[in-house]
Symmetry: C2
Subunit: 341 residues, 2 copies
DNA sequence: GCGGTCGTCCAAATCGTTTTAAATTTCCCA
DNA sequence: TGGGAAATTTAAAACGATTTGGACGACCGC
């Protein structure tokens, strides 16, 4: 069913019908209502591609997915989808062609010039992320999920990684721990740097020297959690507490601790960052895991919302949101055991 | 840069340029080459929306994402993305409006009539899935990831869930286990039924009666894995082996076993299905987890491939792929302990 | 009853391509 | 050298909507 045909059935011109459906004021309330009703009855829906061509809008938001298929991804997308459900806007997922390098910027260029999307969301930025400058230069609206230190104006939404890790570390210090190991995210990413900063600040406040041998960087996988934790535990004196970057990391840490015949929550304290997944919950771990918590799904929903604001004209420089992170104490954290002192 | 402008710069007509770029035979090799080179040099790319309007093709494949944001999702999508990287085809993610019910079919209708996608992939089908009949009726090409028993012709790609679980169960029986519990997927879904069938067949072959108290259904979460496993272990006599539906489920099972003071691989054997995630590997669990294994990423890549075949005219009735599943034995499975007999 | 305003509605241009149908050029052979 | 087939190229008509610039009455005040 095309507009022309539909209009004829109504005895109206295509113009009027189009306006009625788009909510323009030049059409009487009576006919608007009639048009709306008939559209439903006859099942008329404007052809998306025609609308896109003529308006120049793509009706889609692009999300670039890393090669490694992070487990966090679907949770964030669920959130976005939740928010975009009511709008007539799609989510477009683009794979990254090659890790880092030139191909990545090519992907963004193509995304921008092809007119496939109206805006892009980028993840895991670095302090001087080249993508940000690129997208700005291309004139493509974008939101950064995370933060960067570039001068290029850009909208962003981030959680307070520094504060979260600072509080987590401080809490462990309060409990008497002095050798606290941290398994951080990939080196060079802003959030990893922020977490590092939070960790150091907490130590600094107590006048405890920073020991680089207690910090590791890498993907959030159970394997790295396990390996790093083991290598930390082999040190002497060994750490008595861990700050783990993710739930998966924490799984590895738990295993590593057990493999040394130690008990989490008694011999070794663990705090991890939790993005709140329906399929893996900190409460259910044994012992239950203390976490710094922030809903990734909520971040996804809000991201979609902010992109919509961006598209409707709100200046990117106004869009900066820093979310606080909760610290949830459970059984995996406890006072420094006497013997270890 | 528009086609008209670009053509003028080349001293050719838009028609010729369009044909040269689309690889039609009516243009001489010499000009084709020149056009291609200049297109790169001047950065001309056809406007996607104009192409879509005139060709009627959307240039996108739709994937419907469940509300619950399954952790498997991004791995499958990564696979799809991998395959579609070379094509000029997008992946469109649609959230499901409401769980089940009427809204779901509305979503598919809209997806089909709006011209947003050329094909759709549906997941976790049921034996008489309404979506299949609906999409068929709407004339929208689609691929079912999983299987169904409907008469409606449809393309599908599935793994041999029945065979996998049958082999897993048989292996446990070989080891002497007699009370084997199974934590299956959500009730009513085809793959759950297939797994159930595989489980029963294995028992039947040994003449062991099926005990419904040893089977549970639900989402693949660590929480359900833990709860179900605990409730099974409370039975008397308790099961000596578990078949777990997913890696997350297995995590819960491991915890439950430990919470009873039992040891996986010695007191209790566990086999789980593994979709092969980079962030959670069976090899790294302690003890390492025996699995039925099938790469979800590969399935995603192949799905994209099959959809492309579908779109280029291959009949849906020809597209049926059943993938075998590997059985990988590791430390979590062992002979029935003497004391338990 | 006339000119102006307002509220509705419409004809036609437009978006940037692909593709049909026709026009041109090239080429080969009688 | 001319005729016709084959190889190139082109002009113009789609595709299905939005939107610009008017047109047509109805209504009001003077």
């Amino acid at each position: 069913m095309k507009l022309k045909e539909f209009a004829k059935q109504l005895g109206l011109s295509p113009t009027t019908v189009s306006r009625a459906l788009s909510g323009y004021p030049e059409v009487s309330e009576k006919t608007r209502k009639r048009v709306a009703e008939e559209a439903v009855r006859l099942g008329y829906r404007p052809n998306v591609n025609a609308v896109r061509l003529v308006t120049g809008r793509a009706g889609a938001i692009g999300v670039v997915m890393g090669r490694s298929g992070e487990f966090q991804f679907s949770e964030y997308m669920s959130g976005m989808a939740e928010r975009l459900d009511s709008e007539d806007i799609d989510i477009l997922v683009s794979p990254i062609a090659e890790q880092g390098g030139k191909d990545e910027s090519q992907l963004y260029s193509r995304l921008a010039t092809s007119g496939r999307v109206d805006a892009v969301i980028i993840h895991s930025p670095m302090p001087d992320d080249k993508r940000i400058a690129l997208l700005h230069r291309l004139g493509m609206p974008f939101l950064v999920h995370g933060r960067s230190e570039t001068d290029v104006p850009h909208a962003w939404l981030d959680i307070d990684n520094e504060g979260a890790i600072r509080r987590a570390t401080s809490h462990l210090l309060d409990l008497g721990h002095r050798r606290i190991a941290m398994i951080n995210g990939r080196a060079g990413l802003t959030f990893s740097l922020h977490r590092d900063k939070g960790y150091r600040k907490a130590l600094e406040q107590r006048g405890i020297p920073f020991d680089p041998r207690l910090v590791a960087h890498g993907h959030f996988t159970d394997e790295l959690g396990f390996r790093f934790a083991r290598s930390f535990l082999e040190q002497s004196p060994r750490p008595t507490a861990f700050v783990a970057g993710s739930m998966m990391t924490a799984l590895g840490v738990y295993r590593a601790v057990r493999s040394f015949g130690l008990v989490v929550g008694r011999d070794i304290s663990v705090i991890a960052h939790d993005d709140v997944f329906p399929y893996l919950t900190a409460d259910n771990m044994v012992p239950s895991l203390s976490t710094t918590r922030s809903s990734l799904r909520a971040a996804g929903a809000r991201s979609a919302d902010l992109v919509l604001q961006l598209l409707s004209g709100r200046p990117a420089t106004e869009i900066h949101e820093l979310w606080p992170v909760e610290l949830i104490l459970r059984e995996s954290t406890g006072p420094l055991p006497q013997a270890s002192e």
